[in-house]
Structures are given as structure tokens and as C-alpha cells.
Point group: C2
Chain length 302, copies 2
């Protein structure tokens, strides 16, 4: 089955304590797509400017990502510039140029509308809703969001959340959305808004999945070298959704494995700038790291 | 086998967003002892003042904790006063009165010297060394420390660390001790100082165990109500060391289970002020929560 993703394709200029890149390929849609492509067919909806090189589009195509939904428009591609301090946990934004992304109105090609797994990356919740209006009969819809929308478009966000099955956000965003410091209570409050499943990304501390009946806690891969955390969240979502789609189901067991695959993909992504590590993986490397997660968390029951 | 612990017995005045207590029973030695007592015989070395009521000593005795090493001296008992903000992750100290603890020179009763499992709670590293001079042939020595000693007595601390098998500290302390922001690299550097095993406490994110050959990641119990985190670290260490002692071995499998027991005990402790929750537990309740950890982390391997 195919995964549909709507998000940004961008140029990132990033500085970390270990180096820097200028105008490197980035964007939520890009990270998600390449990550998911190791598990399933991916259909990408995004917009780029005239300055976007074919080289990047060819890289996406080489991962069998359908880019017929990537619109090229007059103007420049979305640009983000930021840096990370030594702890690498917080991105500091220096400059955001929306460019062609400012007028982005996602329009799905006809063949995208049958996609059964849908991921709405972190964009305006009104645009997320617009995408849902265009898909026919999705099996599972997941979305991301951020403090900017929680603070600025809470009503629209809540309307979108009523229509999604799974919300994938970070720790701080979950507490802010629920206005509740305790993460388990925050999760219960968010589930009451609409999504059946909440997945909380906790950076170097892993991920937590909460639904009505159960909680699953996954660690992060213990990396000795983290170069650049940019895109880790979308890479996580890509691995998770790609795996769910490849299974054609999202029962509890598959969901848990999907979260481990998501964590696995994110752990590769932060080992280099841009998609340098992500785009050169093999399924074998991925599965080996998945198995490491099993050893990492194993203990004998009583 | 018996566990020996050297630490503080204190009166804590604590305020959290959910309430407050004044001069409630606390101290690293107290939390550790009661927690460990659910698994093993415990020998406590500490000092209290004349103001320390028999009621508290009787509570310790009722948990079959040997208190012949608890010295009562002229003066007042150690007092700590602090508060927690809404996120409950950081303790803010308002007042510390060392009182009789200022001249504490741990002296082990004869029958304590054969204890095979030893825990040196967070006290002056020179006093920790003094305790090690008095034990005969310990099977496993673990210790705790804090930024105060890392910054003020680093040489003495390193000398103590050369003599211990296991260091149990929190996230920030590990990074500070190793002068390294990456936690896995920090762990390797600390292991080079002496301890074979490093256990990193991460509060609501669980614990990480690192030794030369393997890494184990344990989550925290997802609590909806956290009242007071005071003593969680020592309660964790108590559950862990008590379990190791009851097994008479600390092989990899037992260590991993011990960390889960430690996490289990800590999760109970933070549900109420002082030792209110900790001292009324049953082994059944403890084992039920242990088993929950198994469900919390379970996923099928490939």
C-alpha cells in the first residue's frame, strides 16, 4: 500500500558544533518520503521554486517516490537557517524564508487520492484539512504540528485533530497542546480531542505511544556521534508510517514495531547532515539496528 | 546476603505544586534502606541528632533494617528545605542545615564489615573511601555522587571511583563528570576512570546502564500523579542493590532486572511525600508493577 505525505521540501542551512552545511536538501516532506521509501511506495505532495535542481528530484525518484504531486512554481524554494548548541536538543532559528511555500495549496494528483496511509507533516492545520478533503478512504491518517499552530490556530488544529487517527508530536508540544505538565495526563487529554493514538517524540530519550488501552515506551538508539538532529522527527514518522503501510494494518504489535523502525530511521538520519546518511541505507542495515533495539531493551520477566 | 548503605538520615521540608510537608523523614540512607528492605537484609550507617524520634527508628526496625550503625549524637538532625516547580524535574534548595551530619565519620559495627553489597550514598568522597577501608571483602560496591563533589573534590572522587564497581548518577552529573555532552561517550569516559558499570538516572525518562560490552535502556513508569520526586534516586538504588543482593550475583540478566526493580520502587516513592508510599508496599504490588514494565517495553523481534 502507498503512503501519502504532504509537507515541505526545502533548503536548510544548518550549523552544529560539528560542522555546517549551506542550502542543503531538507524539509519535512523530503525526510519523511525518503525514510518511508525503505518500506513502502510513497506519494509526495509539496511545492518547490524554479531554483530547485533536478538532481534532488532525481534522488527522490531513485527511491521510487512518486513526485507527480511536487509542483514547481515561479519563485524560490522554502529556506530555513538555524543552528544547534552543544546539547543538540533545541534548534535555534536564524531565518525562515517561506518563498513559494507561502502560497502552498496542496493539490492531490488523481492517483494519490486512493492512498490508504496519509501523513500530514507540520503545516498549517487548515491546509492539513484541505488534504483530508481530497483523499478518498484512508485507512490511517497521522499528523504532526508545532507550537506555532498550537498558539496561533488552535481552533483549526482541533478541527483537524478530530479527523486524524494518530498525532505524532514532541514532548513540549504535547504538554503545551494539553496545557498539562504531566505527560501521561497530557496524552489522555489529547486523545479526548480526537486522535486514537498519540506518539510523543522525546529526542535522545526515545518515544512514548499512548492510546486508550495501553502505553508503549521505546528508547532512542544510543548514538556516540550525533551530527545534526534536523529532520529526525519526520524521519521517525516516515519509518513508522512506511512500516504500517507495508503491513496493511496498524494493530498494537505492528504499531510497536513501527515505532522501533521509526526510531531506527531517525538514529541513522542524525549521523550526518541533510539526507546524506538516510538516502544511502540498505534494508539490511536498518534491520540490524532494529534488532539492536531488542537487545537494548530486553530483560527477563518474573 | 546483606546490603550495607552509608548515607544521610534527615528531616525534609518540601513544597511541590501538590502540597507540602515540614520536617518529614528523608535522607539518602533512609530512602535506600526502606527500598532495599523489600529484597534483602539491610545494614544502615548514618548519624542523627537528639531530636530524632524513636517512631522513625522503629519504622526502620519494622522493615528489618539493622540500625546498630545509626549513631545518635548531641545536636540536631540534618535538615533540608526545598521546592519543586511544575515540571518536578529540578529540586530548588532553600536551606541546608548539616547539623550533626557536619562531623559525620562513618564507623561500621563489627557485624557490618562482612556485608557483600555496599552502597555509598551521595556523601563526601573521602568518607566514601573511609567506608571502603572498613569493609572486608565486598562482592559489589556501588556509589552515588553529585555536582558539588564533582566541582569541589574531583581528585578524591576519582580515587573513590577507582575502588567501586558501579556508579549510579543522574544524566547531568554524568555529562559534568566526563565533561562530555554526548551521554554514551560520557559513559565510556567514566568507565575508564574505574567503575565497570555506569547507571544513569534520567528521571521521567528512565535509566540507562552502560558497561564495556552492552547498553540497557529502561523506561520510567508512566505515572499520572507525581507528588514529590524527593528520594527517587536513592529509592531506585535501593531496589536495584537489594535485588542484586538477594540474587547473590550481578550478571547482566540480574542487573537488568535490578534496574527494573529500582525503577519500580522509585515510581512508588514519588506517589506521595516522604516515605509514606514506600513503607507500606507489599512484594505483590512491587512484582505487579515490574510485570507492567515488561508490557510497557515489549515489541516483537523481526
Amino acid at each position: 500500500m502507498s503512503v501519502l505525505v504532504v509537507g515541505s521540501v526545502a533548503f536548510d542551512s544548518v550549523k552544529t558544533p560539528f560542522g555546517e552545511v549551506k542550502d542543503a536538501l531538507g524539509g519535512s516532506g523530503t525526510y519523511f518520503s525518503v525514510s518511508a521509501s525503505y518500506f513502502a511506495d510513497v506519494c509526495l505532495v509539496a511545492v518547490v521554486g524554479e531554483d530547485f535542481p533536478d538532481e534532488h528530484l532525481n534522488m527522490l525518484k531513485s527511491h521510487k517516490i512518486d513526485i507527480s504531486g511536487v509542483e514547481k512554481r515561479p519563485g524560490k524554494t522554502f529556506r530555513w537557517k538555524g543552528y544547534y548548541e552543544f546539547d543538540l536538543n533545541t534548534a535555534h532559528t536564524l531565518d525562515t524564508q517561506l518563498n513559494v511555500f507561502a502560497d502552498f495549496k496542496p493539490k492531490l494528483p488523481e492517483n494519490y487520492r486512493d492512498c490508504e496511509y496519509v501523513f500530514l507533516a507540520n503545516i498549517d492545520p487548515e491546509l492539513q484539512a484541505l488534504v483530508l478533503d481530497q483523499v478518498k478512504n484512508p485507512k490511517l491518517v497521522a499528523c504532526d504540528t508545532m507550537n506555532f499552530w498550537i498558539e496561533g490556530k488552535l481552533d483549526a488544529l482541533k478541527k483537524t485533530l478530530e479527523r486524524v487517527d494518530m498525532l505524532i508530536i514532541n514532548d513540549g508540544e504535547a504538554r503545551e497542546l494539553a496545557n498539562e505538565p504531566n505527560i501521561v495526563k497530557a496524552a489522555r487529554k489529547i486523545i479526548d480531542i480526537g486522535p486514537k493514538t498519540l506518539i510523543i517524540k522525546r529526542g535522545e530519550y526515545g518515544a512514548l505511544m499512548v492510546d486508550k488501552d495501553s502505553i508503549f515506551s521505546a528508547p532512542a538508539y544510543p548514538l556516540e556521534f550525533v551530527f545534526d538532529p534536523t529532520g529526525a522527527g519526520d524521519t521517525f514518522a516516515g519509518g513508522l508510517m512506511g512500516y504500517l503501510s507495508s503491513n496493511g494494518t496498524a494493530n498494537e504489535g505492528v504499531l510497536r514495531q513501527g515505532i522501533i523502525y521509526g526510531s531506527t530511521m531517525a538514529s541513522f538520519n542524525v549521523e550526518d547532515f541533510s539526507l546524506n546518511r538516510l538516502r544511502t541505507l540498505s534494508r539490511d542495515e536498518i534491520d540490524t539496528r532494529f534488532r539492536f533495539f531488542k537487545k537494548l531493551t530486553h530483560f527477563e520477566d518474573l
